[in-house]
Symmetry: C2
Subunit: 334 residues, 2 copies
DNA sequence: TTGAAAGCGCTAACAA
DNA sequence: TTGTTAGCGCTTTCAA
């Protein structure tokens, strides 16, 4: 790592103080006299000294590192979460070590994460295997799952109220007088998809309605396009589609308008979930359920830092309100 | 950091070998007999041992950390670069420490980066102050600027051929028979904007044409919208706009179509730069200049790793070809 | 408030 | 191939 050639010992020598005096000067809240501090600071300045964060971490047991694990960054929801998380942590003097999940080697990645002595883990992709979750708990490293949860896991989670969100969509479409309402699912094993779908069906059921059709998009752009084609291949077609996230909804809208020549919302209504920035781009102007990434991050950071400070890891599950963002991709209720 | 309670010493004791034998077992290429290795591995497994990457870094001088500095992640170009970079480095057993630039405190951030003993720095935002650049050079830490450069800096850079890219756009618009060609600039102090603009004007000049108008969008969504409004406020309007990046181009298209009721490309052609994923979304179908983030990353990683390995930091500037991606947002040449 | 001394967990000579 | 030893640069007792 092309180590910084100047150490606290060098500074001490130049300042004619002990090495520990140098250490104290750079430790917030340590007791140093103004005179000593000044001597040290001057010497440090002159030599271009910079404390070695790794050495500090070794002895203090605090690395200042938080790992963030993500699967992909092409769904805009995640970059935004990542940016916010990174800024929020940077403010508190923590830093994000980024890991991308590698298909099939999820546990290896977490091992690597642990080697770096991170003080906390944010999982915004997949979930922790139960073995690893237990290991983190044992090691006392707080884990927060973002936008996902595993009921049986000791890991904390921050999600929006996906069930309620799904229900809001059902009601809205029902109020809009739609009669053939379909659903395009995300990854079927994800908690977001499960909950959004369950809430959606529940909302429909409350009005005595059942979904007209269903296809799986797997949270990918291509998958969603195929799901849309499948759903609209018959002569009788849905007059509304709830798509499990915005990222897929854009793809669905492209297929409906571009390939099938349908007008939105005149011929078919489309509703998404997440309220990513592109949802408000005029060419899509997507009605969607908003989950505030800002609030999510605030919660995640709060959970993480509290558990780090108190050294008590305890499962917490924050569920944030979901809100319908009405735009023009779905017919308005009369 | 809630340290892992089990150390190499613990493993050594259980395996009845020396602590260095444990170390060797976990050091690729070290000489250990199969028997010893097996004993160690068994003991490690039993105790749940995991090497401490920080301790290793301290002594070996290799932290395995690469810092990535970005300004924002809302322009899709950057998340994609970040994902690719992270995966590429992960493959080589390096990991990305993410830093967001903080307005006005750019140098502080770099100090922090250096404290973590990173082995390299990728700057995908702003640029390094000359003082810091010199400091990195002195410390022997390779710095690669991504999608930007500073001619006088010792830092390496990877960019696309922005001049040629701008020129391609000019030619294409000229060939399409446009007569009032405008430019919407990004951040005026960025090398990308400077080069794209220069190349664009050069391309126009080669045909004896000068730009019809110019406005500044500053690489932000809102800025671009305002720039478009400004440019189109007169009764005579541009019949083509080259927007300095895709992110702004979407905003411009929204204004042109949504607010001004113009048809694209019938009334006005729009061309962007970057070829981010959204450019191929059907609602925009943006003609743009593609710069391959894949190739950029390959180059950046190659430069970084070579300089880390050889311990020789030497400025290199890779300039990758730019290619026009023809879609439907600009009138085709006859 | 200060300095001396003891390590944090590990790697890397060096000898055996 | 193995164990012994000496640190990496720092924080944190402990006495002074």
């Amino acid at each position: 790592m092309a180590k910084n050639p100047v150490t606290s010992g060098d500074v001490a020598r130049l300042a004619k103080v002990s090495q520990s005096a140098v250490s104290r000067t750079f430790t917030p809240g340590a007791s140093v006299s103004d005179r000593t501090r000044e001597k040290v600071l001057n010497a440090a300045q002159e030599l271009g000294y910079r404390p070695n964060a790794l050495a500090r971490a070794m002895i203090s047991g605090r690395s200042g590192l938080i790992a963030m694990l993500v699967a992909y960054l092409d769904n805009q929801f995640y970059p935004i979460v990542l940016e916010r998380l990174s800024r929020a942590l940077q403010d508190k003097n923590y830093h994000v070590l980024l890991f991308m999940t590698e298909p099939g080697r999820r546990d290896d990645v977490v091992q690597k994460i642990l080697e770096f002595q991170v003080e906390g883990i944010v999982m915004a992709s997949a979930t922790l295997s139960s073995g690893l979750a237990r290991e983190c708990a044992r090691t006392g490293i707080p884990v927060v799952m973002l936008n996902r949860y595993v009921p049986s896991s000791p890991a904390s989670s921050v999600t929006s109220d996906n069930i309620e969100g799904g229900r809001l969509v059902a009601r809205y479409l029902l109020d809009g007088g739609h009669e053939r309402i379909a659903y395009i699912a995300g990854a079927e094993d994800s908690s977001t998809n499960r909950d959004r779908e369950a809430g959606f069906y529940k909302g429909l059921a409350e009005a005595g309605v059942t979904a007209w059709g269903r296809a799986v998009g797997g949270y990918t752009f291509e998958g969603a396009a195929n799901a849309a084609r499948e759903l609209f291949s018959d002569t009788t077609r849905p007059d509304a589609v709830f798509v499990a996230n915005d990222h897929m909804a854009f793809s669905v809208m492209d297929v409906l308008r571009g390939e099938l020549g349908l007008r939105i919302p005149e011929d078919v209504s489309v509703i998404g979930y997440d309220d990513v920035p592109e949802a408000s781009w005029k060419a899509y102007d997507l009605t969607t359920v908003s989950q505030s990434s800002e609030t999510m991050i605030e919660n995640a950071v709060a959970i993480l830092l509290e558990q780090i400070e108190k050294r008590v890891v305890k499962r917490r599950a924050a569920v944030l309100p979901a809100e319908l963002m009405v735009r023009s991709s779905a017919r308005l209720p009369a």
